[in-house]
């Protein structure tokens, strides 16, 4: 039986100054958890900035 190899190519869409699209569904990710747990650490950090 003849084997058929299928190659799917995806075009990389890049530009030097692309438009930014707004999508309100991204609000669902506002409080997303980070795997490293670093976000929890950052919530305890005190920022003592000189400016």
């Amino acid at each position: 039986m003849k084997s058929v190899k299928k190659t799917i190519k995806t075009k990389r869409l890049t530009t030097k100054d692309s438009k930014v699209i707004i999508d309100s569904s991204l609000n669902n990710l506002k409080n997303i958890e980070f795997q490293s747990g670093k976000q929890d650490e950052i919530n305890k950090i005190e920022f003592k900035l000189s400016f």
């Binding site: 990389r12 930014v20 999508d23 609000n27 990710l29 005190e46």
Partner: protein, 157 residues
């Protein structure tokens, strides 16, 4: 940064961004999140791959993954574009960012160093030093020094 960038999708407040990294290992959905900290003038930049955690039964951001997708410059330039977007809406906010490990933090330092002249036209950039286990102080950015993170703020016009 005069590099190619991926097309961005963001929420109305410019606090959450999404783009797709396309490289030789495949397509990876990246998310950049700006979240408030204990200091109302400082937001944290978190970044990684969006993935579904089967044990937690919810989406999380994997900020420890190494994709080796061959597009690190495009990915970093796209993240920098989110910094421009976020600070154009919130010019008074300082952004804090660091890698999930020392190697990543060092990669960010190299990226700053290589583009310092251009970034400095728009931003003041500082090294962030952790003291007493939970306090961050700022120092003038010096590429010869290692930092615990970085602080970036729009210059006052």
């Amino acid at each position: 940064m005069n590099y190619k960038k991926y097309a961005l999708i963001k929420n109305e407040l410019s606090t959450v961004f999404n783009f797709v990294s396309v490289g030789h290992k495949g397509n990876f959905r990246k998310v950049v999140v700006y979240s408030p900290t204990t200091n109302s003038n400082v937001y944290n930049l978190g970044f990684g791959d969006l993935k579904y955690d089967l044990s937690k039964k919810k989406y999380i951001i994997d900020d420890q993954i190494i994709n080796d997708n061959g597009d690190i410059r495009i990915v970093l330039a796209t993240v920098v574009k989110t910094v421009y977007e976020f600070t154009s809406v919130n010019p008074q906010i300082t952004i804090f960012f660091r890698g999930s490990d020392a190697r990543r933090t060092n990669t960010y330092k190299r990226a700053i160093m290589l583009n310092l002249e251009e970034l400095s036209e728009t931003f003041d950039i500082f090294g962030a030093r952790m003291i007493d286990n939970n306090k961050i102080i700022d120092e003038p950015f010096d590429y010869k020094k290692d930092y615990d993170g970085f602080l970036i703020k729009r210059k006052r016009i």
